[in-house]
């Protein structure tokens, strides 16, 4: 999923540093001094919210305050593409399927939302049928029909109107050629892709087998949009709600509130508790300010859930009372480094292995923020919270995880470069963590004579013009390139398809995958997508992971973790593995 948040956060940090200093000085407050009344004896303590419900409650009412350090990418369900936004969108919209509002691994389960049950597949996994619940209404009182869902999906395929949205539908659905969405080609017959035989039935046809279709159906793109109220790119400010909350006083770039939607009928919705009366969201708030307000209790949720800033990180981890009220969930994200076999001498697998062995693995972890804010040492591509993850370590980094220098030297000899070689490492200039990682690589690899030069590139064109542009990589000898990936949904396909399939590499640049070019892996991915048995399919993702690691073209750095501060006012707090964030649907408020 989109990962361009942190630079923006940093830019804001730099601009607002004086304000933040001021607030740090006066906003300290006494931690633990004013703890709200403990409603019920639930689990508590450091990281309790990652697996259990903290402060469980069924009490309705109250207000929750959210803050976002930047602007929302967009609230339009047809375009939004951030994990936090998908998590949040379940408050105001209902997609065909959704991730269960439950703590930990249980949150990875798909449950029917607008649909009555999971999709019914044809035997070739190319036709998927959903039955809609009856009696679901828009916030203006009109009933939701299958045509509204079809319209919502079709409008999201218009990438000129919604350039930043996910591109799965137009890639998978069997749309007629030349179809450009309902705005530009309104009269084209799209029954080859989506049929609506009656008001409550919708049938999808894909070009190729797509066994994990229910994951597509949980995307906010399937949240119904009434055609007569659709205003294209401007719909983001006038969204018609189907969930328990609707928008109030939406001021783009500043703030908006969610208030109860009286047309939402709990009888049609087994998944939502809808506890708070109001949710107030402020946009463009300084990230250090957000941390301080979270700690003081003035704010409930840092909605982008990127974890606290370094300043608050040391404060929270040093103070036992603050640490007790923090969670440290695993995000379904891997911060890794591509080792490009197109750059000599890395075309020799032994030279690639030398890098795998020589790197100081704990140095990678520290550069990303350490064991709490950074993550766990990764040895595979799939993170542990993705179904299909298999634990293995093909390149052990020594007993202290500081790298196996002896093994690296042996690999270098086998590669015919006993004294090491020179190459470059690319990273995104705006990201201090990537800079620190590149520096760590430079230090660690110098132990075996591999000389690295650091090459920072602007984040905006990182993949299109530099590290993801194959000719540029070769010409500028970018042997290593820092990279990271989070799945669009917690599933092997969602995680692997964009980073290990050699067919996504574009000659003109733009792909996250630059280093994995293994025809056998492409085959394995295709085979897995025809497998309708979930357990068998998950096992296949693990096999693909291992096959890629054997080629030593990816150095897995850390399975990303974030340090989140738990709200003092909120109840029913838990992290869902589906997003690696607090489940915004579950939260309640004391007052």
């Amino acid at each position: 999923m989109n990962q361009s948040r942190s630079w923006r956060a940093r830019g804001l940090a730099a601009v607002g540093i004086s304000a933040a200093l001021l607030l740090a000085a006066c906003g300290g407050g006494g931690p633990g001094g004013e703890q709200g009344p403990t409603t019920q004896a639930g689990a508590s303590g450091f990281n309790a919210g990652s697996t259990t419900v903290v402060n469980p409650s069924d009490k309705k009412g109250g207000t929750l305050k959210f803050a976002n350090e930047g602007d929302w990418d967009t609230l339009d369900p047809g375009e939004t593409y951030y994990a936090y936004s998908w998590n949040f969108s379940r408050l105001y919209g209902r997609s065909l399927m959704m991730f269960k509002s439950a703590p930990g691994k249980e949150g990875n389960q798909l449950v029917p939302d607008l649909a009555e049950g999971p999709g019914q597949a044809s035997s070739d996994a190319k036709t998927w049928t959903y039955k809609l619940r009856q009696g679901v209404k828009f916030d203006d009182g009109t009933e939701v029909t299958s045509a509204d869902v079809k319209y919502a999906v079709l409008r999201s395929t218009d990438k000129q109107t919604f350039p930043n949205g996910p591109a799965y539908w137009e890639g998978q659905l069997d749309l007629p050629s030349g179809y450009k969405g309902p705005y530009k080609t309104p009269n084209m017959n799209t029954d080859s892709a989506i049929e609506t035989p009656d008001k409550y039935t919708i049938v999808f046809h894909t070009k190729k087998p797509f066994a994990a279709f229910d994951y597509l159906a949980q995307q906010p793109n399937t949240m119904p949009v009434p055609q007569d109220k659709d205003t294209g790119a401007k719909y983001r400010n006038t969204i018609v709600s189907t969930g328990p909350y609707k928008f109030e006083n939406l001021q783009p770039g500043k703030s908006f509130n969610l208030v109860r939607n009286d047309q939402w009928d709990p009888a049609t919705d087994p998944n939502r508790k809808a506890l708070p009366d109001r949710i107030e969201v402020t946009l463009n708030v300084n990230p250090d300010d957000i941390d301080n307000r979270l700690i003081s209790g003035d704010l409930d949720v840092a909605v982008t859930a990127l974890g606290v800033q370094p300043a608050a990180q040391s404060r929270v981890l040093q103070d036992p009372t603050l640490k007790e009220n923090a969670d440290n969930p695993l995000a379904a994200r891997n911060w890794y480094t591509s080792i490009n076999p197109t750059v000599a001498p890395l075309n020799n697998i032994e030279c690639r292995k030398a890098i795998m062995y020589a790197m100081d693995h704990t140095g990678y972890q520290t550069a990303y923020g350490g064991q709490f804010a950074g993550g766990d040492l990764a040895t595979t591509i799939l993170p542990p919270n993705i179904p299909g993850h298999t634990a293995f370590d093909l390149y052990p980094a020594g007993p202290d995880n500081k790298g196996d220098v002896e093994a690296a030297k042996k690999s270098l000899e086998a590669c015919g470069q006993p004294n090491g070689f020179e190459t470059n490492i690319a990273y995104r200039a705006e990201r201090p963590k990537e800079k620190a990682t590149a520096e760590a690589f430079q230090q660690a690899l110098s132990r075996v004579g591999i000389k690295l030069a650091l090459k920072p590139y602007p984040q905006g064109d990182y993949f299109s013009s530099y590290a993801g542009n194959p000719p540029y990589v070769v010409k500028n000898k970018l042997g290593l390139a820092l990279n990271g990936w989070a799945a669009d949904w917690p599933d092997g396909f969602g995680f692997l398809s964009q980073i290990v399939d050699s067919r996504v590499i574009r000659p003109a640049g733009g792909s996250s995958n630059t280093s994995v070019r293994i025809p056998e892996v492409d085959q394995m991915l295709d085979t897995a997508l025809t497998e309708l048995d979930t357990d068998r399919r998950n096992q296949m993702w693990g096999e693909i992971d291992k096959r890629v690691m054997e080629e030593a073209v990816i150095y897995p750095g850390v399975y990303s973790k974030t340090l989140l501060v738990r709200s003092k006012n909120a109840t029913n707090i838990f992290v869902t593995d589906a997003y690696g964030e607090y489940d915004y649907l579950g939260l309640g408020a004391q007052k």
């Binding site: 404060r315 040093q318 800079k435 602007p458 500028n476």
Partner: protein, 332 residues
Amino acid sequence: MTLPPEVGTGAETAAPEAVLVGAAPAEGRSLGQIAWMRLKRDKVALAAGVFLIFLILVAIFAPLIVRLLGDPPNEFHQELIDTAGGTLTPIGRFGGMSWDHLMGIEPVNGRDIFSRIVYGSRISLLIALLATLLSVAIGTTLGIISGFLGGWVDTFTSRLMDMFLAFPLLVFAMALAGVFPDQAFGLEGNQLRIALLIFIIGFFSWPYIGRIIRGQTLTLREREFVESARSIGARRGYILRTEMLPNLIAPILVYSTLLIPTNILFEAALSYLGVGIRPPTPSWGGMLSDAVVYYTQPHFMFWPGMAIFVTVLAFNLFGDGLRDAFDPRANR
């Protein structure tokens, strides 16, 4: 302290000069000798000058100093970082200050701040000095030509200076440094970055000195000794080199001393904004930029901030003293 010029005080401050003249009545003194005598009496400027010499020596002998007193500037010391607690801040008080690490260590990777400050002085001074040299060369040449020739040449040059002064330099510098390729003009990596920074800073700050030189030339041009040289048929080139230039040495020296600190700050600003020197090469501005997110670790920001502050202050004090020493009408 400093009073507006009055007849009474003016007479008093003129006294040292009278003494000077009295002490050695036999021979005349050159402007340089007089200036040096006066500078010697300005304790603040002298102290600043001594500090600047010390700083230049530090920059030159950085590898030696670091070998004796610190660790290599890019070496990691993550064993001195609180990785177990996860805060990634230096273990120990005052940012891990110890005899091994005189100014403490950086959070996260634990590099020795002392040696990074010492090495950072090289980048700061090198870029600031060479950029100043560049702008002084351009500024003096164009300033003299403009003032001496007058007419359309003067008009053209003056408008050119206005244009350069109105240029949004910082924005342009960021854009240029951001899009510049990694290899150009036979240079690569950091060498190219340094050359680029020198060019940007030097090429765009020449009008400041150019205007002053033009003004000085305009007044000198009408002086008697120039008139007389011209009347006996001296050629333009001769007048420029022999009559004008020596009389311009003083303002050139003074204003380049005052331009250096501006350039140091500008380099620091560019490094801070991430368009300066490539990491991991240490530079003061870059260190400040790294320190921003760790505002709970004041030592990390304190040392590079201090280094910039003291250096800029020393250049300014020295430049002020130099100006007073060269200016016979200076009133202290």
